[in-house]
């Protein structure tokens, strides 16, 4: 049989020689191996101080974007909830009242919008489904807590702050390919749709 790696060895149960039977040479050999690891570079990353680099298209905690005037973009169409394979998204739609134009961009908006972070698989299909460019996944990590209900994120945690300098930056994620991809939502179901077919 062809060996899969160079280091593979054929197992045999042959009788051990005297040197093998006294084990000590093998023990010393093993101890030398562990000792050599003693001086090797450590692989641990000191997490809060040092962070492992993450991909620009990393899919973390969601954000509900506002437009440039500070109005919520979401129109509660429910496409994200439909697209969600884990059924993590629920929402309640409501009609915009007069005088609320500064708060909501569209005539219909989501009065509640909840994502269950325990169900979410961070696939990004909601982002892809959104026709209003309202929901995006960011590079933020969902923090852990002790209670289950705390993982159901409402609008208070999902909608980004109004102030310009506190807005959640998603430009990092929106590289050329992603933006191009998003333009052609009609192909999104097609798994053969790749970077190459775009060009």
């Amino acid at each position: 049989m062809q060996a899969l790696t160079k280091r593979s060895k054929v197992v045999s149960n042959k009788r051990m020689s005297f040197m093998e039977k006294i084990y000590l040479p093998a023990i010393i050999k093993g101890m030398m191996i562990t000792l050599s690891h003693f001086f090797k570079k450590k692989v641990t990353v000191n997490y809060p101080e040092v962070k492992r680099p993450i991909a620009p298209v990393y899919r973390g905690q969601h954000v509900l974007k506002r437009d440039e005037n500070g109005a919520e973009r979401c129109t509660a169409c429910g496409l994200c909830a439909v697209a969600c394979p884990a059924e993590a998204i629920t929402m309640v739609a409501e009609e915009r009242k007069a005088g609320e134009e500064g708060l909501y961009r569209e005539e219909k908006y989501a009065s509640t919008y909840e994502i269950n972070m325990l169900r979410c698989i961070f696939c990004g299909l909601c982002e892809e489904a959104c026709p209003k460019e309202a929901i995006f996944l960011t590079d933020r990590i969902v923090p852990s807590t002790f209670e289950r209900h705390e993982f159901v994120y409402g609008k208070d945690k999902l909608v980004e702050p109004t102030a310009k300098d506190e807005r959640v930056d998603i430009t990092e994620r929106q590289n050329v390919d992603t933006v191009e991809f998003k333009k052609h939502k009609e192909y999104a179901h097609n798994i053969l749709y790749t970077k190459n077919t775009l060009k």
């Binding site: 023990i27 191996i33 562990t34 690891h37 003693f38 090797k40 450590k42 692989v43």
Partner: protein
């Protein structure tokens, strides 16, 4: 005995006691650090610089934990178990010569609590009753795993005590004394016993590993088979006592190995540069502790390298290999001594 002597001995006892506890405390830290380093990790580094306060944090945690005494356990024995383990672990330190002697104002202060003329036998006696802590605790827990751990501990201790005693017999034949202090004093300069009896030293070290229940002989607390072994039911500081006793035992075993076979407090070549006896004593103690720390490191190094023995392998090694080899070693020592004319 004068009052001065009594006060001096009391101070020395307290010193030995606190040093054992301190070393055991930092052994837990060292164990975790060394395990991490051997596995390409960093180990505890959050409590204080380099995690140096980790043992303190662990101790506080142990004390704050809820104390659980199982309802079906034998309550009195459940408490006595860890106490016996800790007590016997702390008792061994008194016969070990930690250094030569200090001369202050014309008075001699030996750095050893007491020089019993049967020092080695005293060590053996204390070690052999150390197993009761494990046995009583394991039985009193009223738990199958604990009981199995206790039973394994007792049979392992008895099996390896024999080989240990026989390997020591050869050493006693050579040195001609049972006093630990004299054995240490005989190894002046480079006359370390390990150079004369390397094989006996090896046997003794293997048995010391088994007696302290350290890997690869940690069957009494084998996590993969017995949950936690004899201390499965223990929590809080009682568990802490068991774990701590193991580390103290390791410290004392290292000290015994260093004393009996590796020259104890003797430093080669030191006589050339230092002539003041007090400085000699202090340097000797420092050097002795360096040796002890090396052996503690060896204990941990072995633990994080070798896999655990299977139970039948353990018994085979003890009874069919180590004991015959130790007997042969005793006989060979006798023959060599007879040939070289040391005995008639």
């Amino acid at each position: 005995m004068e009052w001065g002597d009594i006060i001096y001995k009391s101070i020395l006892v307290v010193c030995v006691f606190s040093v054992s506890l301190l070393v055991a405390m930092y052994s837990t830290y060292a164990e975790r650090k060394i395990a991490a380093f051997l596995q390409d990790r960093l180990g505890p580094n959050r409590a204080g610089p380099f995690g140096i306060l980790q043992p303190v944090a662990d101790g506080v945690k142990m004390f704050m934990k809820e104390e659980i005494i199982p309802d079906v356990s034998n309550k009195a024995l459940f408490i006595i178990g860890p106490s016996v383990a800790m007590f016997t672990a702390c008792m061994t330190g008194v016969v070990i010569p930690w250094g030569t002697e200090l001369v202050i104002g014309g008075k001699h202060y030996p750095l050893q609590v007491t020089d019993v003329n049967i020092g080695i036998l005293y060590l053996f006696g204390v070690v052999s009753i150390g197993v009761y802590g494990i046995m009583i605790g394991g039985w009193a827990s009223n738990n199958k795993y604990s009981l199995l751990g206790a039973i394994r501990a007792s049979s392992q201790m008895i099996s390896y005590e024999l080989a240990m005693g026989l390997s020591i017999v050869a050493l006693i034949m050579m040195t001609g004394t049972l006093s630990v202090r004299e054995i240490a004093a005989q190894q002046v300069g480079w006359h370390w016993n390990v150079l004369y009896q390397p094989f006996g030293c090896l046997l003794f070290m293997i048995c010391a590993f088994a007696e302290t229940n350290r890997a690869p002989f940690d069957l009494p607390e084998c996590e993969t088979e017995l949950v936690g072994g004899y201390h499965t039911e223990y929590s809080s500081m009682k568990l802490g006592f068991y774990l701590f006793a193991e580390y103290i035992n390791m410290f004392i075993s290292s000290a015994v190995i260093a004393t009996l076979y590796f020259g104890g407090y003797n430093m080669p070549f030191i006589g050339r540069w230092v002539h003041d006896p007090n400085w000699m004593a202090i340097l000797g103690t420092v050097f002795f502790f360096c040796k002890i720390f090396f052996f503690i490191f060896l204990f941990m190094w072995v633990r994080w390298t070798l896999p655990r023995f299977r139970y039948d392998q353990l018994m085979n090694l003890g009874w069919k290999i180590l004991i015959p080899l130790a007997l042969l070693h005793v006989a060979a020592t006798g023959v060599v001594m007879w040939l070289t004319g040391q005995i008639h």
